[in-house]
């Protein structure tokens, strides 16, 4: 029986369940010090003077400052604009200035209170609509929007606003570092992308690749929040460790993590949509503005993905998308599950409901009429040739949720005199591209390997990290199924840059489809070698051991490595921003039924249904876990989560005040998979991680509209906003 499509046991599950998996802060490092970070407290200006309290016992501490940086004081990413430690110019109110290490974490933090920083303040730019610094812009044009609009029967305009969102992984960002006697650096971190960290550390310390070893510790959630920020915190730990001559751990407490690390980009999105009387979309004119925060970080690529999903999963002959991401004096925004798409898809989808209302048709019918199908052409010119499960997902969702019946029942409930609540059903649908955008995968040129060790062990080697999604287990399944082995006979190496090839970052819904494909190729190469050497793949440990003797020829292992190659027929042009933006898209449709209390305006989600085409499902239980988990994050985004900013800093950096859903805020969620396999995905698989984040926002907003008859084009849809929408109270 093939290992794919079955619920294999989670590889690292028993260690996690017994509390013996080592997260960064659990990693034993004898003699280690704890680092703390002094941060700016103004959003914009200059540091004039730093004074140390002479009465404080500084001899107990190790202090690292910008002048201790051997290489470049920049955290390299897309641009090298962000300093590792601020020297003079302050661009946001949580920038690191200097680092203190002490054997006691509490003492290290207490020491910060004894440093005085004097500033010259400047007027900060906090409103992205007033920013004049543009990090990146995109212009997409297909057909003729002006003509399309002039020929439309109905034109609907809408403005949509999306807030910051905090990842709220339950393990905060953290890193540990020590230096070997030979001058090489070892970093252990809670991170998604070991090779990103390696690249950043090389530049900061002037080291070669071989001199920087990055190891992923067990990682307590990421969601994009540990894509790029670990570059910073790992470098801080390394800088302190160098100065101290001892290992150093830097682990943020919740408040610091919320204040200083990245958030989802806030956005303001405007739509002008032209439709024919029969519901056909004829023109989409879309303007996207995102707030990048103080440094570039990943903003250009977040904007790119947002732009490429801005039309929603619909075919429209005339499209114009103008998008830009700008600088403000707030902490940089970064990657967060969905990467710009949840923002633009919220606008696109709720706009469809507005159009439906304007036309007087059911939102479902409008979607049916326009949803992407095989052969459809996207705004950037991509023709969808295969694996387009959008309509299938929509119909499966409608059927499973009993959409029409529930909508009628809710409408009837709302007409009842004395009903204690308003009820509504909303629908949304989304596409989500798997893998890096455009030519991203070509530049990454990822590599993954499968090896047979001298001891007869089949091992998968990749830098793709496990932080809950099931990467490790899924790789073992793909390798085992490719080799025709039971999954128990395949092991997966811990991501450690000294051991595993660079399979790229663990982001962008790329691990299963892109890296999984490499794992499959490498496994097939091993299979061919085994067949050649032994006539077949041995299905037992003993057989593998015997084959290993022949294949390894005295070496510790025989390794088969696969490298990403652009599939034939896939083309993207960076210069014109046209072509195949993604190899393949996954699709999801969601129906949500909710209830709004007439006394308190509190919203209770009664039930949710998601149907998804993620291609072949490698691990049904984990895939369902990804969908439910992503949907609940999306429900938090839609209804609860509100990062309050004042003077460029988060005013509620606590889990008490930035509230995420609890078990009681979470409805029953039905998940249906409707696979439209992708021929080049491993066993037909596509991506799943981000997709479920795209659908809850618009489905909830649509359900609120159904319940109240009012559109609230802004998240989160709090009771306060509902009260204001109904009564004009703020």
């Amino acid at each position: 029986m093939t290992a794919v499509g079955r619920n294999a046991r989670r590889r690292e599950g028993p260690e996690k369940l017994c509390g013996v998996a080592h997260y960064v802060d659990d990693t034993p490092l004898p003699g280690c010090l704890h680092g703390a970070t002094l941060r700016t407290t103004i959003p914009r200006g200059r540091i004039v003077r730093i004074a140390f309290d002479p009465a404080f016992p500084w001899q107990e501490c190790v202090i690292a400052r910008a002048e201790d940086i051997a290489g470049l004081n920049r955290v390299a990413l897309i641009e090298a604009d962000q300093p590792l430690l601020v020297e003079r110019e302050v661009r946001h109110a949580a920038e690191p200035i200097l680092l203190v290490a002490h054997p006691s974490r509490a003492r290290a933090l207490a020491a910060l209170e004894h440093v005085q920083v004097e500033y010259e303040e400047e007027q900060p730019v906090l409103d992205p609509e007033k920013s004049e610094v543009v990090f990146k812009r995109f212009d997409v044009a297909r057909g003729d929007v002006a003509r399309g609009l002039s020929e439309a029967d109905v034109i609907v305009e809408g403005t949509f606003r999306l807030p910051h969102q905090e990842h709220a992984y339950i393990e905060t960002n953290g890193a540990a570092a020590f230096w070997e006697a030979d001058g090489s650096l070892v970093v252990i971190g809670s991170l998604q992308c070991p090779y990103y960290v390696q690249k950043a550390l090389k530049g900061i310390f002037g080291l070669t690749e071989r001199q920087v070893r990055v190891i992923q510790a067990a990682t307590g959630g990421g969601f994009g929040g540990k894509e790029e920020y670990p570059n910073m915190i790992c470098a801080h730990a390394a800088l302190l460790a160098r100065k101290a001559g001892r290992p150093v751990k830097v682990v943020y407490d919740r408040q610091e993590d919320m204040l200083a690390t990245t958030k989802r980009h806030p956005a303001v999105i405007r739509h002008r949509t032209g439709v024919a009387r029969d519901g056909r979309l004829v023109a989409q004119d879309i303007d996207v503005l995102m707030d990048g925060g103080a440094y570039v970080t990943l903003s250009p690529v977040v904007l790119s993905r947002g732009t490429l999903h801005a039309t929603g999963p619909y075919a429209c002959p005339n499209v114009r998308i103008q998008s830009r991401v700008v600088a403000t004096n707030t902490p940089p925004n970064g990657a967060f599950r969905g990467f710009g798409a949840p923002q633009t898809l919220f606008a696109a989808e709720l706009q469809m409901d507005r159009v439906a209302a304007a036309l007087g048709v059911d939102p479902l019918e409008l979607r049916r009429r326009n949803v992407l199908g095989p052969g459809a052409t996207l705004a950037v010119g991509q023709v969808l040739r295969e694996s387009v499960g959008a309509a299938k997902a929509l119909e499966a969702c409608v059927k499973r949720s009993r959409y029409a019946a529930r909508r009628r029942a809710c409408s009837a409930w709302n007409r009842r005199a004395g009903a204690p609540s308003w009820r509504g059903v909303g629908l949304s649908i989304a596409h989500h591209g798997a893998g890096f955008t455009g030519s991203g995968e070509v530049y990454l040129a990822s590599r993954a390997a499968v090896s047979l060790t001298r001891h007869g062990e089949v091992r998968v080697l990749a830098a793709s990290t496990e932080f809950g999604q099931g990467t490790t287990t899924m790789f073992a399944q793909i390798a085992a199924a490719s080799l025709g082995l039971p999954v128990e006979l395949v092991s997966v190496a811990t991501p450690d840059t000294s051991q595993v090839p660079n399979s790229g970052p663990t982001v962008a819904s790329r691990t299963t489809m892109i890296v999984g494909r490499l794992v499959r190729q490498a496994a097939l190469d091993l299979k061919a070698a085994l067949v050649e050497a032994a006539g077949a793949v041995p299905a037992t440990r003993a057989g593998l051991l015997a084959a290993a003797r022949a294949l390894c020829e005295g070496e510790p292992e025989r390794r088969f490595e696969a490298r990403y190659e652009k599939p034939e027929g896939v083309a993207w042009d960076d210069a014109t921003y046209t072509g195949d933006a993604y190899e393949a898209y996954s699709y999801a449709a969601m129906a949500v039924e909710l209830e709004i209390d007439r006394t308190t305006y509190e919203v209770r989600v009664r039930h949710a249904t998601v149907a998804a085409d993620i291609g072949t499902v490698i691990h049904p239980l984990f895939a369902e876990g990804q969908v439910i988990g992503g949907v609940v994050q999306g429900l938090g985004y839609a209804l609860l989560e509100s990062a309050v900013y004042e003077g460029g800093a988060m005013k509620n950096p606590r889990l008490t005040d930035y509230v995420i859903p609890t078990s009681l805020d979470t409805p029953r969620i039905d998940v249906v998979f409707v696979p439209a396999p992708y021929s080049r995905g491993p066993f037909g698989a596509k991506g799943v991680g981000e997709l479920p984040m795209d659908v809850p926002g618009p489905a909830v907003a649509a359900a609120v509209h159904h319940a109240l008859g009012v559109f609230i084009p802004e998240l989160p849809i709090t009771p306060e906003r509902i009260a204001a929408a109904l009564h004009g109270a703020a």
């Binding site: 006691s104 974490r105 509490a106 006394t599 308190t600 309050v644 009564h727 109270a729 703020a730």
Partner: protein
């Protein structure tokens, strides 16, 4: 974690007298009960170098005792213990309901009623029930006791009228006559583990002719301290609860509350919901 254990003291008195003495003579000392508020501040670095006076050895203060229609709840009784108490469940159901909305089980297992009151948060969930039950707080300074009407314990946001060295020893609550109608409602930031944006408790007695004999209605989180809606209560007395009367009572809510905008909600919302809570209580069908 910002609290430095080496730079703080934890004292563990064996008697109330000793506890009061320690609190009176140690500047800035903090009485520690279940720790569910104090330790949060400590972890955030807010109480560095302070002395904590742990009350957990005052075992008798954990007791809940019923004497006919009166219940004495020791200051150190946990929310979990109050929820489980048969007298509370039967005769003071609004208090049981309130305790069940405080945090998750972990907080209910540690947080105490006395600590909750002494902390004097405007959002204290048990306060509206205690306000409508017209409870009394028994305070001691180690040598003398006094009884303080519940509402008079609060002086402002996080401030009480207790003297330095004075501790809450118990809360006394008389079970009311069986009310015609009663409600507890917490409006939090989410469905569980939430801080209140508004929290309400109400008791209503009607005469046979349908006129109001007595209304008691209290709201939390809409003023610096918990408030009884005196104006609305007085207005409805003797009146039939017609839509007009309910509407006027709701309008009068503003006389007794003064909600603000903060990171959790807005003044406008809090006022609107306060009015709705009262009107839905008064309009409910028997």
């Amino acid at each position: 974690m910002r609290g430095d254990a080496l730079a703080a003291r934890l004292l563990r008195p064996r008697s109330a007298a000793e506890a009061c003495r320690l609190l009176a003579r140690t500047p800035g000392a903090i009485a520690l009960a279940g720790g569910t508020d104090a330790m949060v501040a400590w972890n955030a670095g807010g109480l560095a170098g302070r002395t904590f006076v742990d009350l957990s050895r005052l075992r008798p203060w954990t007791r809940i005792r019923a004497n006919r229609a009166e219940l004495t709840i020791g200051a150190l009784a946990t929310h979990a213990a109050i929820i489980d108490d048969p007298f509370v469940r039967r005769r003071l159901p609004l208090l049981a309901a309130a305790c069940a909305t405080v945090g998750g089980v972990q907080i209910q297992n540690r947080g105490t009623l006395g600590g909750n009151i002494a902390n004097a948060s405007p959002a204290g969930d048990t306060f509206p029930p205690l306000a409508v039950y017209e409870a009394a707080v028994v305070a001691t300074n180690g040598t003398a006791r006094r009884e303080i009407p519940f509402l008079d314990v609060f002086a402002g946001v996080k401030r009480t009228t207790l003297a330095p060295g004075e501790l809450i020893e118990a809360v006394r609550v008389k079970a009311p006559r069986r009310p015609g109608r009663q409600m507890f409602r917490k409006v939090g930031t989410r469905a569980a583990q939430a801080i209140s944006k508004a929290v309400a408790a109400g008791l209503l007695w009607l005469r046979r002719d349908g006129t109001v004999e007595e209304l008691r209605f209290a709201l939390g989180s809409v003023a610096p301290t918990v408030r009884r809606l005196r104006a609305a209560e007085a207005y409805v007395r003797g009146r039939r609860l017609t839509p007009e009367v309910v509407g006027e009572a709701a309008r009068l809510v503003a006389e007794d509350v003064s909600p603000i905008d903060d990171v959790r909600s807005t003044a406008a919302y809090r006022l609107a919901v306060s009015r709705n809570l009262l009107s839905s209580f008064l309009s409910a069908r028997p």
